[in-house]
Amino acid sequence: MPNQRSLIAVGVALVIYLIVLPALLADKPYFLGVLTTASVLSVIAAGVWLTFFIGRINIGQGAFALVGGYAAAILMTKLGFSFWIAMPLAGLTAALVSIVIGIPILRLRGVYFAMISLSLTETARLSAQSFRSVTEGAKGIVNIPLPGAVEIFGFTLIPDFSTVDKHLAFYFLAAILLIATFAAMYRLVNSRIGWLFKSLQQNEELASSVGVDIARLRVIAYAISSFLGGIGGAFFVAAQQSVYPASFQIQDSIYFMLYTFLGGLGYVFGPIVGTFVLFLSFEFLHGLNEYQPLIYSIIMIALMLWLPNGLLSIRLPGWGLGTKANPERARGA
């Protein structure tokens, strides 16, 4: 249960995020853009975090971002849907696909699931290339319109993005997505569903022995995860106004996993911290040219050596001692 201090902290963070930052950066589209991207990447990473929460190493989130991206692009360009309807439908499409794939592959655990999930991204890319009648194949879908206006009874709820400062508009859209996602995630994890997911992570047999329908729950978790991936994919497609089979690649899937790890798998807000730290540091290290990935990887390894349970574990003094009481590691084989 949140105490008063953490409520205040969240309130301050929200004020900075929603008012101070956009006010400061209104005429700095680059910084705004970086924060926007990091926000949406956090949303996608939140999905990965949830699959980790049920004990599955997910290196395939890029696949669902791609599915969502294509769903949104097709809905907008071929069927004339508004972005505001296409985006949730894109999430649902990704969730639906993940249910079909998830039923067989979620039976796998450990590195087996990790490896098969890694090949999903390639599968998605190859599918996008192969099913040309729907996806335009290698040519991609381009000239996708910017999000249009939403009006209710003549009152403009959301302005047409092409008529306002696009950067700010996308920033706020990303911010709202992030806040909604993590509010929902927080609620989910602290509700009974969260406890059930956690029971899955710790021991599926035991969970099923007390009557938990583990197959259904893990598919639900995976569907939520993929829904977030799909939403994120739709966002990027709208921002870039184009989608290609290579819009989300294996590298992306690996990064989503890294963001999640880095923040700490034990913390709902881990994906935000991990994504912002990694993505921002990546942007700001860019002056190092070819040395950038090298330094980046050294930082990553160093973090893992000193903070193996994620950045957010810093705030728990004595955490390192607690982990030693946990000699057994469930191994995949």
Binding site: K28, Y30, T37, K139, A239, P245
Partner: protein, 401 residues
């Protein structure tokens, strides 16, 4: 960003520099105002060479200009500063990279990116930010109206393909052709255009679907089928420089006797290292680097390139033009074009300069109206090379228009 103070200061410095320059010759390093040019492309991972070659070309040429005292625009000398960003072929990084170049560094002219996906992703940034870019991606959508901010930096496969096929049809009696592409958007699109061109020439297209995956180390499975079809010509569509030599070698090892060609630039060193003699007779599109056509200026340039990159890469022969034509067009359009790309665009139709990299003194200008309904392509000479014992020999030099 020309602030008054810095303007005055640089005017003063320019005055001193002029005096000093007269006294010491061209050795003086004048503290000119900087003109920043962006390079955005893939500089790590499997396709690292594409973006790196762009960057090295720009840096090498910028070094030459700066050492010669800067580049003159509107009577004022500018030092050229290259700001490069690795987008890793990731559209998200390409967008943030482009935003950084445009909004933070105030750059209006960007060389790159390298593939359709990233080039298309930054179109909104380029247009909104009032910048121009020179992608090395072939998608026609990028260069055709309503788009107007992107300039194709090289010869597209759909331009080189028909010329090469026609040449081979007439000179070598090629009647049948088989295509193979890397299973990625850009390559597949190039193959599609290539197939259409071959069919238009009345060639018998024996294979129009074959692909291989990125990261293939063993081309026997892919090439066996192609060789088995016994085509007169195998076209490697949009293959990466790393794959071409393997494919050549494999085809020869499988007993293939016919011709092989590609429409993209390759590197002679890689070809001779990996494929050896098997690469003899391989036809590709090169730049200005073969001895038959290169000017003295080009030779100087390639020495400078080696200083920057450590080693010459023949891919660079097709990528030297971008910075040259950007700067000279800005010069013609006047200093306002540094900030205002509409001035640059207005100049594009008429702009013309002598191509300094080639002996024959042909023009360097903007072309492509036949393909994009507007001049949005650099008139890179279409140098068709054939590989022979470790070197490229020029077969002929064509042009797009």
């Amino acid at each position: 960003m020309l602030k008054r103070k810095s303007l005055m200061r640089s005017a003063a410095i320019a005055g001193i520099a002029l005096v000093a320059g007269l006294a010491v010759g061209d050795g003086a390093m004048a503290a000119n105002e900087k003109l920043k040019i962006g390079v955005l492309g893939v500089m790590s991972g499997p396709a690292a060479s594409w973006g790196l070659v762009n960057r090295y070309c720009a840096e090498a040429r910028a070094n030459m200009i700066n050492e010669a005292g800067g580049f003159e625009i509107g009577g004022k000398k500018y030092d050229i500063e290259i700001v490069s960003i690795d987008d890793r072929n990731d559209p998200k990084l390409a967008v943030s990279g482009a935003e950084r170049l445009v909004y933070e560094d105030g750059i209006r002219y960007i060389i790159g990116p390298n593939i359709d996906t990233t080039a298309a992703a930054i179109v909104p940034v380029i247009e909104k930010g009032g910048a121009m870019n020179i992608p090395y991606a072939f998608s026609k959508d990028l260069y055709s109206p309503p788009r107007s901010h992107s300039i194709l930096g090289m010869i597209a496969s759909y331009q080189a393909g028909p010329v090469i096929y026609k040449y081979l049809q007439e000179k070598e009696g090629v009647k049948s052709v088989a295509f193979v592409a890397r299973n990625e958007s850009d390559s597949l699109n190039q193959r599609e255009e290539g197939v259409a061109a071959a069919e238009a020439l009345g060639l018998d297209v024996l294979a129009s679907k074959d692909t291989y995956e990125a990261g293939t180390t063993d081309f026997f499975p892919v090439m066996s089928r192609l060789v088995g079809l016994k085509p007169d010509l195998i076209v490697l569509s949009g293959v990466a420089p790393s794959d071409a030599p393997l494919m050549l070698k494999t085809a020869r090892e499988l007993g293939f006797q016919g011709l092989m060609s590609t429409e993209t630039a390759q590197d002679a060193k890689i070809l001779s290292e990996v494929a050896g003699d098997a690469a003899n007779g391989f036809i590709s599109v090169g730049g200005a680097s073969t001895p038959e056509i290169r000017s003295e200026f080009m030779e100087t340039f390639s020495k400078r390139y080696e200083e920057v990159a450590g080693e010459w890469n023949d891919e660079a022969g097709t990528k030297v033009y971008a910075l040259e034509i950007l700067l000279n067009t800005i010069k013609t359009a006047g200093p306002e074009a540094i900030e205002d790309v509409s001035k640059f665009k207005a100049q594009m139709d008429a702009f013309k300069m002598t191509n300094p990299f080639l002996k024959d003194g042909r023009d360097l200008h903007f072309v492509g109206a036949g393909f994009f309904d507007q001049k949005r392509q650099i008139s890179v000479p279409m140098v068709v090379n054939v590989f022979k014992d470790g070197e490229f020999e020029t077969l002929f030099v064509g042009s797009v228009d």
